[in-house]
């Protein structure tokens, strides 16, 4: 079903072999002749690796894309924040109930300009994953984001939002504190917030949990990110079209059209940010650089717009998600 996942593993093995050879190259007491030969071999391996990667990535399935978007090595929000901003001070707490580690928020400096930053945060190892609740935000997370967005509006600085969540937290405690209300209020707030909002979907754009911080003037998606109304596995379980069978998630992924290109074609995002060959995790520095450039470009354009024009354009965009018929 997935060509990419086994390939990605293989790729890592090849990479390890190449690195071994490179270490050998730097060792002392190696003859010039051998050094030249080894160098050629390394170069040949790299060329081959790149070619195979290109071939595999030209034929990615929707399911490959889902796995890529969820890849544990993929850069997360704090990775981008660290790489993109000159400075970042994190702010904690929603001033209502608590602090949600599944959402980070704070004040940052981008190319010397002030900005407010919000984003979902996933964890990499078991402990951190639990701490970050797998990137599933609770009501406090959405309300913290709201608080920081209001601050951005007050101080007239743009909001930059990084989206990467499987879904919003939905267990009882979240329900008791109004998870639906927290998301709904963010949707309303972001539709009228009087300052530019730039959104980047960096990994998983998981349904209501994602859109709760994903309304903006310019919404971008990394090339291998996904944006979906429901996880494909759950979709397969619910719909008769997939026999209510969770193992048919890959088919549901195909049907849901959740890739960046398809999302762009449907008019749900405004721009795709290309990723390094093999995915953002293969070269996080280059990926962050692309994201930084895209955000900078978007902010330059949006900052030049008079506030009224900005809000009119935002409403027109939201109003325009209109795939319907009248007959």
């Amino acid at each position: 079903m997935s060509r990419w996942l086994p390939f990605d593993r293989q790729l890592r093995e090849v990479e390890a072999d190449i690195q071994k050879l490179e270490r050998l190259l730097t060792a002392s007491g190696i003859s010039d002749e051998r050094r030249v030969r080894l160098r050629e071999e390394v170069a040949a391996l790299r060329r081959r690796q790149e070619q195979v990667t290109r071939e595999v990535f030209e034929m990615l399935t929707a399911w490959d894309n889902v796995l890529l978007a969820r890849h544990v090595d993929r850069p997360y929000t704090l990775d981008y924040i660290g790489a993109i901003f000159d400075d970042f001070v994190e702010l904690h707490g929603d001033r209502r109930f608590g602090d949600d580690p599944a959402v980070v928020a704070g004040l940052a400096s981008l190319n010397g300009q002030r900005a407010a930053v919000i984003g979902h945060q996933k964890g990499r190892d078991v402990k951190e994953r639990q701490f970050r609740n797998f990137g599933s935000a609770r009501p406090e997370g959405y309300r913290k984001a709201a608080r920081v967005m209001r601050l951005a509006e007050k101080l007239q600085m743009p909001v930059i939002s990084f989206v990467d969540t499987p879904a919003a937290e939905s267990r009882l405690e979240a329900e008791e504190r109004g998870i639906a209300n927290a998301i709904a209020e963010n949707l309303e707030l972001m539709s009228v917030l009087q300052t530019p909002i730039v959104v980047v979907i960096i990994g998983e754009g998981g349904s209501g949990g994602a859109i709760g911080i994903a309304v903006g003037d310019h919404v971008m998606m990394l090339q291998h990110a996904i944006y979906s109304v429901i996880p494909p596995e759950s979709c397969a379980v619910i719909l008769e079209a997939f026999g209510r069978d969770p193992s048919r998630g890959p088919e549901a992924a195909e049907a849901l059209r959740l890739s960046a290109q398809q999302t762009l074609d449907l008019g749900a995002v405004d721009e795709i940010i290309p990723e390094p060959l093999g995915g953002a995790h293969k070269d996080p520095v280059a990926a962050a650089q692309s994201v930084k450039e895209a955000i900078t470009r978007a902010l330059q354009r949006l900052s030049a717009m008079p506030p009224e024009e900005l809000l009119t354009a935002r409403y027109r965009k939201l109003r325009g998600f209109d795939h319907f018929r009248e007959a």
Partner: protein, 288 residues
């Protein structure tokens, strides 16, 4: 995401006979009495789900409802397997083209824009047509400067429209924001069941939120949670009463109490009270 979409609980399929059976306690109910009781079981108090037509009939002044956008329906933006057939099937069964029905009406003489979502049409799920119809209703309420009253139930966003349906959450919330800027009151009534994408967007943004007794209300449907996390939820979670207890709903009332409460609220909220003016002397003085 509508978990109950395929549950067979016909609400307008009651046999044309004299008797109907309560779907909860199984008692036989005399059809004429059941109608008088607003389809609430007089034995166990179960509130049978209403079709949009039935809801409008017991809410709007007789003959006052004028439906708008009756033929607005979903397209199939994703070319999703089996979706057009499904839409046609629901249209045939309900006589509707979308779960959301809206129009102008009067309630006790007071003008209102009325929105009703019918669960029988694909679990009241929100696709692009539902989003558009809600926005038009809200915009119309703002233009006419009369309150928006919405009876809402839904299984959530409509999977078959993928990301297009998810974006309706933002679109409908933006319309509510505009209503707020226009100082137009927005009243929601949560009916069974109200969950997921609709509950997490325009349905949670009412100035006043009422819910009908016993309605399932929650971000995730309780059965979804129990299956996904392999847990047993405490009885009564994810209900209107639970949401009220946790501060998300102003009042939970029986169907019998609903209309009188609505009328009082409309008198207190309407921008230009056109009902019994003598009862609301302060209305005009404080407005504008």
């Amino acid at each position: 995401m509508s978990e109950r979409e395929n549950e067979s609980r016909p609400t307008d399929g009651v046999p044309a006979g004299l008797w109907a059976k309560c779907q909860k306690c199984g008692e036989m109910l005399y059809q004429r009495e059941l109608e008088e009781d607003l389809y609430v079981c007089r034995h166990c108090g179960y509130h049978r789900r209403l079709s949009a037509r039935e809801r409008i009939a017991i809410t709007a002044d007789s003959g006052s409802f004028h439906e708008r956008d009756r033929n607005l329906r979903s397209s199939d933006p994703l070319h999703f397997p089996g979706y057009p057939e499904k839409l046609a099937d629901y249209a045939g069964r309900t006589g509707l083209s979308d779960p959301l029905v809206w129009g102008e009406c009067t309630i006790e003489g007071m003008p209102a824009v009325l929105v009703v979502v019918d669960f029988n049409f694909q679990g009241g799920s929100m696709g692009a047509a539902l989003g558009e119809k809600f926005v038009r209703a809200a915009e119309h309420a703002a233009e006419q400067r009369c309150p928006l009253v919405a009876f809402l139930c839904s299984g959530g966003a409509r999977m078959q429209e993928g990301i297009v349906s998810l974006l309706q959450m933002a679109k409908t919330a933006a319309a509510v924001a505009r209503l707020r800027q226009a100082h137009i009151p927005y009243l929601t009534v949560g009916t069974d069941p109200l969950t997921a994408g609709v509950f997490a967007s325009f349905a949670s943004l009412g100035d006043v939120a009422i819910a009908e007794q016993g309605a399932i209300m929650g971000f995730a449907g309780p059965r979804v949670i129990e299956a996904a996390f392999k847990i047993k939820l405490p009885p009564g979670s994810h209900t209107a009463e639970f949401q009220h207890q946790h501060g998300m709903v102003d009042q939970v009332v029986t169907r019998r109490e609903l209309r009188p409460l609505l009328v009082r609220l409309l008198r207190l909220l309407s921008p230009r009270p056109s009902g019994d003016r003598t009862e609301v002397p302060l209305g005009e003085a404080t407005d504008e």
